[in-house]
């Protein structure tokens, strides 16, 4: 179901979902032409992260992970400096020091991005501690996958967040439900004795809920409640979004397994080919969101195609900007080891 928002706000969500999708499709194509190193894509999880993170406000802090592109776009980061960072250019958000693994934009509320599984959990909890002690009503959002809950950092940090009733929202995007994982030569999936991830939070007394990752209304509503709880001193919340792993995300190196997204499939089922029919009919959250918007009358198919055209242009302009941008001077490797010293 659609989030409980005005039509204009729903269109903004759609636009960001399309930007996130086109951003990574272009990236995968680029990686076919040139070696840009390993990267992780968010395709298939847009229906969770975009509605959930778009409702955050200025000053709220988000701590994401290796699968961060969609999270940054959800909070308004620009494709140009994102691509530039991924390509190691001087115009990247981190001036080329971080790359895709550490893509961070402080102005969009991402102060640092750890790509060590679970690395962001203590940081996010600590930011919650800091905000609480500073008397702020801002919140800290911890963005992890299911694998991060295998690490001890989760258990230590969840305990601290619960004991101190910290203003932290844990959004765990579980993309291992249908994954075969490394035993099948695919990208690793979680190795966890607990069968219900929410129990790993509720055991600490943390308010916990599981949602369908394709349900944009659930993502928006549970996040709204969690953020309200955090802002009003009610402590942390754990949200497990049960997402579908996009077929292109199964190999160790992402590939366009289902082709480039064709929004027309949302209203013309005859375009759907049999080999990935389930993905296109039921599992692609972007197509599902478009169908719901059409059904509700919020957008027309023409309007959706128009949004897609503009989003695609914006993404391609961003990529061109990045490719035209210079690399940093080699000596810049020596900068930013330390913040400037007062003495």
């Amino acid at each position: 179901m659609l989030p409980d928002l005005e039509p204009e706000a729903l269109v903004v969500l759609l636009e960001r979902m399309i930007v996130a999708r086109r951003f990574e499709e272009e990236l995968i194509e680029l990686a076919g032409d040139r070696d840009i190193g390993h990267f992780h894509v968010y395709i298939g999880q847009e229906s969770t992260g975009i509605p959930a993170l778009s409702l955050l406000e200025q000053g709220d802090l988000s701590f994401t992970n290796h699968r961060n592109h969609g999270h940054l776009i959800a909070r308004g980061a620009e494709p140009g400096p994102m691509y530039a960072e991924i390509l190691g250019r001087a115009t990247g958000y981190c001036r080329g020091k971080g790359g895709t693994l550490h893509l961070a934009s402080a102005e969009h509320g991402f102060p640092t991005t750890s790509s060590v599984t679970s690395g962001c959990i203590p940081l996010a909890v600590g930011a919650g501690l800091g905000l609480q002690r500073l008397g702020s009503d801002r919140v800290s959002v911890c963005l992890v996958g299911d694998g991060a809950l295998e690490e001890g950092a989760w258990h230590e940090s969840a305990n601290i967040a619960a004991m101190e009733r910290l203003p932290v929202v844990f959004l765990c995007e579980n993309n291992s439900l249908e994954a075969l994982g490394q035993r099948a030569g695919e990208y690793p999936s979680s190795t966890m004795a607990a069968s219900d991830l929410t129990e790993l939070a509720s055991v600490f007394g943390i308010e916990s809920v599981a949602i369908d990752g394709l349900d944009t209304r659930a993502a928006h509503q549970t996040m709204t409640e969690a953020v309200h709880r955090a802002r009003s001193g009610g402590g942390p919340t754990f949200i497990e979004a049960r997402t579908v792993r996009w077929p292109g995300n199964r190999p160790i190196w992402p590939e366009l397994a289902t082709g480039k997204t064709d929004l027309s499939m949302a209203w013309d089922a005859s375009l759907i080919r049999p080999e990935h029919a389930i993905w296109h009919r039921e599992q692609d959250g972007l197509l599902g969101f478009v169908r719901e918007l059409l059904d509700s009358g919020c957008v027309t198919s023409d309007a959706a195609l128009g949004l897609d055209k503009r989003a695609t242009e914006r993404v391609r302009e961003g990529l061109a900007f990045a490719l035209d941008s210079p690399y940093p001077e080699p000596e810049e490797a020596l900068e930013h080891v330390f913040a400037p010293r007062g003495d």
Binding site: C94, K97, T113, P122, L123, G126, L129, R133, F338
Partner: protein
């Protein structure tokens, strides 16, 4: 000038830091270890309960929380108690705190202090006697302060708390009973400026933290044997006052490094390499390193003393470097 115990100075600088900046919060409760002095810090906790956080036994979680809190705008002073416990938190200290400013391209800073008590404390055995300074030093992005007396402690920690970088504050429980003069209006001490607590002409001893005290004790005895020792106390390992070391070696022509890290790849190795690279022509004798022997620290007292850099070992090494016979 008023005198103060080192342990009192620890409490004094914590008090000044808390009272001087609302953003300073204390996380952890074993700044003075399990020593008899530990109750002194309790008064401070009782006076400022809202500025203290007593974490669970979760070094990875709460040191990481200190990093996150620093990102959010606090200036936490986080206590890890015994240095060996920092290993529980290495993933956050070495891979997050040290990297964040760099990998964010300067967007984000981590203004925090991490405190630990290092070294052989007596009976600590293998898992409570580490000196991880060299491991920390091998990770760019961490400042490391190693005070050896009450006045330096206060001045250096004031600078550490004001610093926008993650700073490791290295203490040693054997320093707690050291008494020293502390000026009334003590000022922050800038990082990267060594002190020369004893001047001499025959031999430079480089030492930090507790080893400064042992080196000074040995130097006094060596003076009666006619060996004039200059002691260089770097006060901060990062940044390092390379010039002060080279200046001293240029004057004495001999270097003995005394350090509580293990020998291989320890602080002593780095100082020896620096002097060999930049001051080979000044050396009248081979550089000597005295460090904790390359075995885990054992429990039994005679075994423990056998592996740590003792005053007797400093005397023997100094005589050897200067070519003076023992007991002459």
């Amino acid at each position: 000038m008023p005198r103060m115990l080192y342990a009192e100075a620890v409490v004094e600088v914590l008090r000044r830091s808390v009272e001087g900046d609302d953003r300073v919060h204390l996380m952890g409760q074993y700044f003075l270890g399990l020593t008899p002095h530990r109750t002194m810090v309790g008064d401070l906790y009782r006076q400022y309960p809202d500025r203290v956080y007593f974490p669970p036994i979760a070094e990875l979680g709460y040191v990481g929380a200190g990093i996150g809190a620093a990102i959010a705008g606090l200036r936490p002073i986080v206590d890890c108690a015994t240095a060996s416990f920092t290993f529980q938190a290495f993933a956050q200290i070495l891979n997050e705190a040290a990297n964040i400013h760099y990998m964010s391209g300067g967007q984000t800073s981590v203004p925090m202090v991490i405190h630990y008590n290092h070294g052989v404390r007596g009976g600590g055995a293998a898992q409570h006697s580490h000196s991880p300074q060299a491991m920390m030093w091998n990770t760019p992005g961490l400042e490391i302060v190693t005070p050896s007396n009450p006045a330096d402690l206060i001045g250096l920690v004031l600078t550490a708390v004001a610093s926008d970088n993650p700073t490791i504050w290295v203490d040693h429980v054997r320093l707690f009973d050291i008494e020293g003069e502390v000026p009334e209006n003590i000022e922050p001490i800038p990082f990267g400026r060594a002190s020369i607590p004893r001047e001499g002409t025959d031999l430079t001893i480089f030492a930090s933290s507790w080893m400064v005290r042992r080196s000074l004790e040995a130097s006094e005895l060596l003076a009666s044997e006619g060996i004039s020792v200059e002691v260089v106390d770097p006060r901060t390992l990062v940044p390092l006052d390379e010039e002060a070391i080279l200046r001293s070696v240029a004057k004495t022509g001999r270097l003995l490094v005394v350090d509580e890290c293990h020998l291989r790849c320890g602080v002593g190795a780095e100082i020896a390499a620096t002097v060999a690279e930049h001051a080979y022509g000044d050396l009248l004798a081979p550089i000597r390193r005295l460090a904790t022997l390359d075995v885990p620290v054992p429990f039994s007292p005679p075994l423990e003393q056998y592996v740590e850099p003792t005053t007797a070992k400093i005397l023997a090494a100094a005589r050897s470097v200067t070519g003076v016979q023992s007991g002459a």
